[in-house]
């Protein structure tokens, strides 16, 4: 099992219910077929894209964190690629960052992610 983080960027014309339905479908694939576990979901909601993607100027952002065996990913990503309303997605190794677009100085991390796991990162150098 490896910890991953995924950011979804949906077309902003997709309704909230559709987003929920899609996420449900993806995550079912991940947890039931793939044997993974989902640890956090954070809906950022609609925000402007820095540049148009497929002629869309706004996106609906969702960040999710999960743990899954690596073999589960190809099938999961295949599902994502089939979805035309998913403008972008990015799966990265999860390194203890919060799900929020946290500004180092200003913003507080939202949701359940405390900052307790970040203190031990000053080792080395």
């Amino acid at each position: 099992m490896t910890a991953y983080e995924i950011v979804y960027v949906f077309d902003s014309q997709v309704t909230d219910e559709q987003v929920e339905e899609k996420l449900g479908r993806y995550h079912t694939q991940l947890t039931e077929q793939g044997g993974g576990t989902l640890s956090a979901i954070d809906h950022w909601g609609r925000r402007p894209l820095a540049f148009p993607i497929r002629k869309r100027t706004n996106g609906y952002y969702v960040v999710a964190q999960f743990a899954a065996p690596g073999q589960a990913l190809p099938e999961f990503e295949r599902l994502l690629k089939l979805d035309e309303q998913l403008l972008r997605y990015l799966v990265v190794l999860h390194d203890g960052e919060p799900t929020a677009p946290m500004s180092i100085a200003t913003r507080q991390p939202r949701g359940e992610d405390g900052d307790d796991d970040e203190l031990d990162d000053e080792e080395g150098n």
Partner: protein, 73 residues
């Protein structure tokens, strides 16, 4: 300003990790056009500079920060 042992601005401010979702902070590390600032401008240590360049590239892909911003002039 202390010079020497630790001059990297991120090390100085005690930041351990750069989050690619933090578009506000990342855009401060680019030029107005959106180019990643070089080490000689940022003065960052190698480790932080690497983290930043990776973070900016991820953020670009997700359209959180632009690849290219036309200068306003």
């Amino acid at each position: 300003m202390r010079r020497g042992a630790k001059s990297c601005p991120l090390c100085e401010s005690g930041i351990r990790q750069i989050n690619y979702k933090d578009d506000k902070t990342l855009s401060r590390m680019t030029t107005e056009q959106g180019k990643i600032l070089p080490r000689r401008m940022t003065g960052m240590c190698a480790r932080h500079q690497r983290q930043i360049s990776l973070a900016i590239k991820r953020a670009r892909y997700l359209a959180l920060v632009p690849y290219l911003r036309r200068s306003s002039a």
